[in-house]
């Protein structure tokens, strides 16, 4: 079973997945920036997922960010940006 991620439609710049927490302000800023840039992305608030789904998501994150910290953004199942790194995010998508 794969936990369903929410879709924000926009300009496709690759497969972008954002792992976030609903309580985290840096995750909020990351979502706001992606929305401002009009990027197409999927996101999931990991703290709102209960039970096995949460474990599954942390395993997914671990592959790209062993510390499992938030936000973690994964691009094309290859690159990742950890934390609200505004310059890096802008550089990646602008």
């Amino acid at each position: 079973m794969t936990v369903e991620k929410k879709h924000e439609s926009g300009t496709k710049k690759g497969d972008v997945i954002l792992y976030a927490l609903s309580t985290c302000q840096w995750c909020r800023k990351t979502k706001d920036l992606l929305n401002e840039l009009g990027i197409d992305y999927y996101y999931v608030d990991v703290d709102l997922v209960i039970g096995d789904g949460q474990k599954e998501l942390t395993e997914e994150i671990k592959k790209f960010n062993p510390a499992v910290s938030f936000p973690t953004m994964v691009i094309n199942e290859r690159d990742s940006i950890v934390g609200f790194d505004e310059d890096k995010i802008r550089e990646k998508f602008e």
């Binding site: 927490l21 309580t23 985290c24 302000q25 703290d47 499992v68 910290s69 934390g83």
Partner: protein, 169 residues
Amino acid sequence: MGVRQINEKDIDLYFNKINKDAISSGYDLNPDISFTKSLIRGILVNIERYGYDACPCRLASGNKKEDIDIICPCDYRDIDLDQYGACYCALYVDEEIKSGKKKVLPIPDRRSNRDKEKIDNKNKIGNIDLKYPIWRCKVCGYLCARDNPPAVCPVCKAKKDRFEILLNK
């Protein structure tokens, strides 16, 4: 999840309390009030959800014992303030960030090294002959020699369960 709605009054109450504690013990809250209040909203959600003030920017387990290091103020606040000028979520900031001279940058989560640090600590601490054990506040480093830690750290106001034995008697 059925979490009670957090209202502005709850946020203001919590803000006033931690702001008072911060000022009296030499810390500063982030001067960006709307950002700070959003962080507090996250902490209050965590109190409702888990029963303790878990860091809003970390994934809590729901097990207080397991998460004792990320109960705000977390065990990593002071060391992150020293190195980055802010704690992990940036609720607490140093003078330079407070005055706008420096910006908050992303901080790597030290928590992922905690198991390693525990082992390192063990190797450094031996048993010596003492009349009282030495307790250390894991939040601010305050030390005291007494049979049990104080109910509340006199320096940073962390609760008793945030103390560790540094030296056994």
